[in-house]
C-alpha cells in the first residue's frame, strides 16, 4: 500500500463536508485520518460524537503523544495546534495562532508531510480563509498526493480555491466523490 495516512483540513462549512466524506468511507477503511477543523476554543465534544456515529471507524479527539493507529479518525482539539511526530505519534502545542487559527491546518499538514513523506494524502475542504495552502504545497513537495474539494461544491470556496491557485493540487474533486476516491486510493 502506498499511503499511510490522510490529513484533512476544513473550516467554515466543514462539519457538513466531513459528514459527507466520513459516511462515504468503506467500512473496511484502514488508513488513519487526521482532521484539522477550525472551531471555537470553547467547543465541546459534540463534533466528535456526531462524526463517530457515521462510521464503524473510531472518531476521537487527538490525545497528546498518542500513537497514530489504523481505523482511527483523529480530530484536533480546540485551542491546540496538532502536530505529527516522526515516530507517528501526535503532539499538541499552545503556541500563537497561525493564519489566525489554532488549530492551524498548515501546522498539521507540514508536520505530517515531514513524518509521512510521500506516503501522505492531503485533502483541503470548504473554508473562508487561506489556511492549508502552504501545507498542501509542502505535502506535494514531499511527494504526497493532494486533493482539493471542487470550490463549486464547497459551502465557502475560498480555502480550496486558494490551494488550487497555488498550483499544488493533484485532484480537484466534487464533495460527493471525495470518499470514493479515498476508498480507491487506499484499497488494501
Amino acid at each position: 500500500m502506498n499511503y499511510h495516512a490522510i490529513v484533512i483540513g476544513s473550516s467554515a462549512g466543514g462539519l457538513q463536508a466531513l459528514k459527507t466524506i466520513i459516511s462515504g468511507l468503506s467500512p473496511h477503511f484502514k488508513i488513519p485520518i487526521i482532521i484539522c477543523q477550525h472551531r471555537s476554543p470553547y467547543s465541546d465534544s459534540f463534533m466528535v460524537q456526531f462524526l463517530n456515529e457515521l462510521t464503524p471507524l473510531l472518531v476521537k479527539e487527538a490525545d497528546e503523544k498518542e500513537l497514530i493507529t489504523e481505523r482511527h479518525i483523529y480530530l484536533a482539539p480546540p485551542n491546540f495546534h496538532l502536530l505529527v511526530e516522526e515516530d507517528f505519534s501526535l503532539s499538541l502545542t499552545v503556541e500563537e495562532k497561525v493564519n489566525f487559527a489554532r488549530p492551524s491546518i498548515d501546522v498539521l499538514f507540514e508536520t505530517a508531510a515531514e513524518a509521512y513523506q510521500h506516503h501522505l494524502i492531503g485533502v483541503i475542504l470548504t473554508g473562508a480563509n487561506h489556511d492549508g495552502a502552504k501545507g498542501m504545497m509542502y505535502i506535494q513537495k514531499k511527494g504526497g498526493l493532494t486533493i482539493a474539494q471542487n470550490p463549486a461544491t464547497a459551502e465557502v470556496p475560498i480555502m480550496p480555491q486558494t490551494a488550487i491557485s497555488s498550483g499544488c493540487i493533484d485532484y480537484v474533486v466534487n464533495l460527493e466523490e471525495i470518499a470514493e476516491l479515498l476508498n480507491k486510493l487506499c484499497k488494501t
Partner: protein, 279 residues
C-alpha cells in the same frame, strides 16, 4: 543534487548537532523536546534570518548570544492567560482548597509559569479562600525574560475583559477589577498578591527537586516534552510533593502510563488533578 530523502537525513543530523551545541554552550537541553515542534519553530527562525540550513543557524547561535535568545524564545512558547480553563480553577477550589485549609503552612509550586498570569490567578483564589497568608508560592520558569515580566505583574488592559469572564467562570467571588489598577493600556496587579511569591529560574530538565510541596501546578509545559522526558519530570514532581500533596496538569496532559501513575490517585480526571497517595 541530493534527493529528497538524503536531504532529510542530512537535515536531521544537523538538527541533532544544533541541539547538542545549544546544550553544550548554553546549558539548555532541548534534545528531548517534541521533535516536530522544535523543528517547526527552528525552520521559522531559519527563514527569518534567511539562512539555508540548521548548520548555519548553529554557527549563528554559537557566536551570537542574541540569536540564542531568539531561539530560546522560539522554543519556550510563553503563551498564557489568566484563569485559563476556568473549570480547572473551579475544581481546585472545590476539591483541593478544603484540604489545604487543614495545613498550618502550605507550599505551592508553579512550574513553567511563563509571564505569571497563572500565578496571580491562583494567588487571587488563595486570597479569597483566606489561605494566602499561610502560603509560600514558588513560581519558576527556565526563561528569565518571562520571569521579569511575571515579577512586574503588569498586563495589557485590553485583555481584562476576557480575564474577567474567565475569573467569573472560575467561581470568582468579587469584582475582578478590585485586583488591579488600570493606567492607559497597562493593568497593574495589586502588589499584595505577590507578597508571598518567589519568582525563580528553574529548569525542569536539568535542575533538581523542590522539597515538601503541597501543590504543584504545571500546565501546558509537559506537552512540549517527549515521553521519556515527561516521565522524568513526573518523577521529579512525585519526589517534590509531600504525601497527600496535589498535582494539577494542563487539560491535555496526563499521568496515565507514566511510571508514577500508581503513586497518585485521580481527583478530577477531566481537569487533570491528582493527589499523591499516603502509602
Amino acid at each position: 543534487m541530493q534527493n529528497n530523502h538524503e536531504e532529510d537525513v542530512t537535515s536531521q543530523i544537523e538538527l541533532e548537532l544544533l541541539l547538542e551545541a545549544i546544550f553544550r554552550q548554553y546549558g539548555y537541553d532541548f534534545r528531548n523536546y517534541s521533535r516536530a515542534h522544535v523543528k517547526r519553530r527552528l525552520y521559522n527562525r531559519l527563514r527569518q534570518h534567511e539562512l539555508a540550513s540548521f548548520s548555519q543557524l548553529q554557527h549563528a547561535i554559537l557566536y551570537d548570544v542574541t540569536v540564542f535568545h531568539e531561539v530560546l524564545r522560539d522554543l519556550s512558547i510563553n503563551v498564557t492567560e489568566m484563569f485559563r480553563d476556568p473549570a480547572f480553577y473551579a475544581s481546585l477550589r472545590a476539591e483541593v482548597i478544603p484540604i489545604l485549609k487543614t495545613y498550618p503552612y502550605i507550599k505551592i509550586w508553579h512550574a513553567g509559569c511563563a509571564t505569571g498570569e497563572e500565578v496571580y490567578s491562583f494567588a487571587i483564589l488563595l486570597m479569597e479562600e483566606g489561605l494566602y497568608e499561610r502560603s509560600q508560592i514558588y513560581a519558576t520558569d527556565f526563561n528569565t525574560d518571562v520571569l521579569e515580566t511575571a515579577q512586574k505583574g503588569i498586563y495589557p488592559t485590553s485583555r481584562m475583559k476576557e480575564y474577567t469572564l474567565n475569573y467569573q467562570a472560575a467561581g470568582g467571588k468579587e469584582s475582578f477589577s478590585k485586583y488591579y489598577t488600570a493606567r492607559y493600556d497597562a493593568a497593574l496587579f495589586d502588589p499584595e498578591l505577590k507578597k508571598n511569591i518567589v519568582f525563580a529560574e528553574h529548569n525542569l530538565v536539568t535542575d533538581s527537586v523542590f522539597s515538601e510541596v503541597n501543590l504543584i501546578i504545571c500546565r501546558n509545559v509537559l506537552i512540549y516534552f517527549n515521553r521519556s522526558l515527561q516521565n522524568k519530570v513526573m518523577e521529579l514532581f512525585a519526589e517534590s510533593l509531600i504525601k497527600g500533596g496535589f498535582l494539577g496538569l494542563g487539560t491535555k496532559e496526563n499521568i496515565m502510563f507514566s511510571p508514577v501513575e500508581s503513586l497518585f490517585k485521580v481527583l478530577d480526571a477531566e481537569q487533570k488533578i491528582y493527589q499523591k497517595k499516603f502509602v
